[in-house]
């Protein structure tokens, strides 16, 4: 009997769903064993029917539920609770579901500020009226999935690599255990390391000096003075489908790591980890702009980002 799979998206961009399709041939191998019972990215499903016959949210029962995106509205919250009750295994797919993700940057502002910025606050236009009936009721802040319901497995990444999704799905089908790496991105990075961190911090988007195509001859970006979140970010983005470890995603383009795989261990806080380490080697941390959003860019839920008591 095929495994019944439910897929739902909350406050996210849909990139995680594209990552599932990106699995390529592996997807073809596992497809006969999967039965998608609910997947809005492929097939529309209306709880309330074409004629409005249905009265309430009704998710089908499933063996495996994948949820991407963060919990932003009251509807998301209710849906998460129902999916949890009706599925055996719940997977938080992507950084939004796992840690709040990009959408949790909204935790820096109050809901009122967000509405004001969205419906007005432009220099050229008058403030538009904020619609009250047509917008969904928002929660007081953005939550990660595991703040709201119990989650069995997280697959971090923005978006998760097809390799990690493929590994997790095949492990589930075989009944094996799936574990995320407990190394940092630096452990999988091939760039050349010579000394300590560059003590002079460059501007965030300053380009690095690099030898195109030759990763072993390019100096570590952090040693060049470019703030790279590699030391405090979980490894995994370097993994390829064919099993060969490659270069971490952003480093492949000679850009610094942005931290989308979240903290190395779920209990660590990258901001204090990184700043503490930088301070102890004597680097000038005061020149790092907007530390709060920079180090918590993908992990704004779990109380990592707040609006400092504005409401």
């Amino acid at each position: 009997m095929p495994v019944r799979v439910l897929e739902e998206w909350f406050a996210g961009c849909g990139g995680c769903e594209v990552a599932i399709l990106d699995m390529g041939e592996v997807l073809l191998d596992v497809l006969p064993e999967l039965e998608f019972v609910y997947i809005p990215v492929l097939a529309d499903s209306k709880f309330f029917g074409q004629d409005g016959n249905g009265k309430e949210m009704d998710y089908p029962h499933a063996d495996v539920a994948l949820i991407s995106g963060s919990v932003r509205t009251k509807e998301n919250w209710e849906a998460a609770k129902q999916i949890r009750a009706r599925s055996k295994v719940l997977i938080a797919l992507g950084s939004c579901a796992a840690f709040g993700g990009i959408s949790a940057l909204a935790n820096l502002s109050t809901n009122r500020e967000i509405y004001d910025a969205y419906y007005g606050a432009s220099n050229n236009n008058d403030q538009a009226e904020i619609p009250e009936l047509t917008t969904e009721e928002m929660l007081n802040k953005v939550y990660a999935l595991n703040e709201v319901v119990e989650v069995d497995l997280i697959l971090p990444g923005c978006s998760p690599t097809p390799a990690s999704i493929a590994k997790a799905i095949t492990a589930l089908l075989k009944g094996e255990e799936f574990k995320l790496s407990e190394k940092s991105v630096c452990d999988t990075c091939p760039l050349e390391r010579k000394s300590k961190w560059g003590l002079e911090t460059k501007r965030p988007l300053a380009s690095a000096q690099f030898t195109p195509g030759d990763y072993n001859k390019t100096r570590c970006l952090a040693e060049q003075g470019i703030l790279c979140l590699g030391p405090v970010t979980r490894a995994g983005c370097a993994e390829r489908l064919d099993g060969e470890a490659e270069v971490p995603g952003c480093i492949r383009a000679f850009m610094p790591c942005r931290g989308c795989w979240g903290p190395v261990h779920t209990y660590t806080t990258p901001m204090s980890n990184m700043l503490g380490a930088l301070a102890s080697i004597g680097a000038d941390t005061s020149s790092i702009p907007d530390k709060k959003a920079l180090f918590n860019r993908y992990i704004g839920a779990h109380g990592n980002l707040n609006n400092c008591g504005k409401g």
Binding site: M138, L139, N140, Y143, Y267, S272, N273, S286, K292, G303
Partner: protein, 155 residues
């Protein structure tokens, strides 16, 4: 006692802050010991954690204690130049700046963290620092992260 009275008496209890003090083995822990031997009076709400050097107290340990509900954190080390490991307290001093820079980002007051240099001969200074910190935190009120287990609510 009726439930109403009980809850009333609970809410009337004075706020006693929990303060974590990371004391270095060579100086401040000795100072705490001396304060005890001298029978110097100091608040009992201090939780002393003995570490080998103030330089090993990572920013993460301080932030984590505050996020888990400590009302205040102190790092106590040797005076500058007296470090048993040559320059551990210099590292601690640099980290202290960063920690104080970071605390407002978590929505906490910078005063909840304090770094102080206390030698093994300064039992009095240890007691005085503990008293000052307790007074300050009592004025600031409890740590906002103490409230746990809240359900998400609609705004």
């Amino acid at each position: 006692m009726s439930p109403e009275l009980e809850s009333l008496s609970k809410s009337c209890q004075p706020f006693i802050p929990t303060i974590i003090a990371f004391c270095c083995n060579w100086c401040s822990y000795g100072a705490a010991d001396l304060a005890g031997v001298n029978r110097t009076k100091y608040p009992t709400n201090l939780r002393i954690v003995r570490v080998m050097c103030s330089g090993m107290v990572h920013a993460d340990m301080v932030i984590n204690s505050l996020l888990k509900g400590a009302d205040g954190v102190m790092v106590l080390g040797c005076h500058m130049g007296d470090c048993h490991y040559i320059n551990g307290n210099e590292k601690a001093a640099r980290r202290a700046e960063v920690i104080q820079e970071m605390l407002p980002d978590y929505g906490l007051e910078a005063q909840r963290f304090r770094i102080e240099w206390i030698s093994a001969a300064e039992g009095g200074k240890f007691a005085q620092t503990a008293q000052e910190m307790t007074d300050l935190i009592t004025k600031l009120g409890p740590n906002p992260f103490k409230k746990k287990g809240e359900e998400p609510d609609a705004c």
